[in-house]
């Protein structure tokens, strides 16, 4: 399918050598939304969880230490910028790199927590993120081998072959693992139990936005 059918009229391009970024209303909207969220998250403080105790009327507070806070904020900003980049890029290999970056940074955001259950879930998610780099980059390589190009603009004009469809599904499996969508959601769901709410939100937001963009990219390749 054509880029303009999916995203609206092309408003302009940003040429970075072979990696050309196409600006359509759809891409620009997603880009700006992610940037606004990243700015909000960068400015906000973390939540302090208040937990009720069993057997008594007391409660305990779970807060985030300063150095942990700084690292997690830094990683959350990087995650937001990577998501924004994935929204706007017009190159297939470039988008896989952005998604790989999001996967690694997501693990990093929760790896600073000192809660065994959360660390265990993050470890399992890290394993999936590692495994999924095979279908992610493998899918992009299959499409490159089948068409000889990586530019989404050129790919949109090429009729789909069985090898391209296979590559596209491989890419989808890679993205599903890297962003941890259902049915592989359990690892991420456990990760959200940790305190430090705004940084956890960017994990959610990045998977959501990346999946929307990935569906657009797959439609460009397959149809």
């Amino acid at each position: 399918m054509d880029i303009t059918t999916l995203g609206g009229n092309i408003l302009g391009t940003i040429p970075l050598g072979d990696i050309v970024i196409y600006l359509t209303p759809f891409h620009l909207f997603m880009f700006v939304v992610v940037l606004i969220f990243t700015a909000l998250i960068a400015m906000s403080r973390t939540e302090t969880q208040v937990e009720a105790e069993f057997g008594t009327l007391k409660e305990s507070k779970v807060s985030v230490g300063l150095s942990e806070f700084k690292t997690r904020r830094f990683l959350a900003i990087v995650c937001g910028l990577a998501t924004a980049g994935a929204m706007i890029t017009g190159d297939l290999f470039n988008i896989t790199l952005f998604i790989a970056l999001i996967g690694i940074v997501n693990v990093g955001i929760v790896s600073a927590v000192k809660q065994v259950d959360v660390l265990d879930a993050a470890y399992q998610y890290g394993i999936i993120a590692m495994i999924s780099s095979l279908p992610l980059f493998g899918g992009a390589a299959m499409i490159l081998a089948a068409t000889g190009t990586l530019s989404l603009f050129v790919l949109s004009g090429i009729a789909a072959t069985p090898m391209m469809i296979f590559g596209a599904i491989l890419l989808l499996i890679g993205i599903a693992g890297e962003t941890g969508i259902a049915p592989f959601f359990a690892t991420k769901a456990e990760m959200f139990r940790t305190p430090g709410s705004p940084f956890i939100l960017i994990i959610h937001l990045s998977s959501l936005m990346v999946i929307i963009r990935a569906i657009e990219v797959l439609l460009i390749i397959v149809t």
Binding site: G17, D18, I19, V20, Q49, E51, E53, S60, S63, V64, G65, L66, S67, E68, T71, F74, L75, V78, G85, D91, F93, N94, F98, A100, L101, I104, V105, G108, S111, A112, V113, K114, Q115, V116, D120, A121, Q124, Y125, I128, I131, S132, L134, P135, A145, A146, G148, L150, S151, T161, P162, M163, F166, L170, I173, G177, P183, F184, A186, T187, P195
Partner: protein
């Protein structure tokens, strides 16, 4: 409990997810054997035929792209050639050391290519330079995460303990709570089974 409920419960355990994911991936890769695969020979980033340059006894094999620095471009293609107008002009640049190595032996092509001052891969640094920046960013982020973990979880545990007094206390309580919950859970489950 219904069958689908059991399935959801099985999917809710993080330990099982990597196994499930690997199974799905392996099954799909097996399907890949049935898909007709053909290489489009009109590739955007062409490579010479394997061993071709070695057979020609070029000292820069297998990375010889020809061309003269700032005079004639080497054989290198770009998707959007209008964005990289001077591609190929410096791909054959070699420092005096690299020229010396080249004159000594025909077997050091890879060393010349991988050393600073040797041949330059313009696909990496010019036409697809943004990808190279991203790749190194991924590496840097993993180093940031790994070094933070090393410093705070293994080397500097005393300060880390001070920092996280609150969360540590809460952890101990959490463990107690989870023990209580598991007791409650198992007892209620037993009742259900009964």
């Amino acid at each position: 409990m219904s069958k689908i409920g059991k399935l959801w419960n099985a999917l809710a355990n993080p330990d099982r997810i990597p196994k499930l994911y690997s199974l799905v991936l392996a099954a799909f890769l097996l399907v890949g054997f049935l898909v007709p695969i053909s290489l489009d020979t009109n590739q955007i980033y062409p490579r010479p035929v394997p061993q071709e340059q070695v057979d020609e006894e070029s000292p820069l094999a297998p990375y010889d792209r020809g061309g003269k620095v700032l005079k004639t471009p080497g054989i290198i293609k770009a998707q959007y050639s209008e964005n990289s107008k001077s591609i190929g002009m410096i791909t054959s640049y070699m420092s005096p050391q690299a020229i010396l190595v080249q004159s000594i032996s025909p077997y050091f092509g890879t060393s010349i290519y991988s050393s600073p001052g040797g041949l330059i891969d313009e696909v990496l640094y010019y036409s697809r330079g943004f990808d190279t920046i991203l790749e190194s960013t991924i590496l840097m982020m993993s180093f940031v995460i790994a070094s933070w973990l090393v410093v705070n979880f293994t080397m500097n545990t005393r300060r880390a303990e001070k920092d996280s007094k609150n969360s540590k206390k809460a952890n101990i309580k959490n463990i107690n709570i989870s023990k209580n919950i598991s007791k409650i859970d198992s007892s209620s489950l037993n009742k259900e089974e009964e």
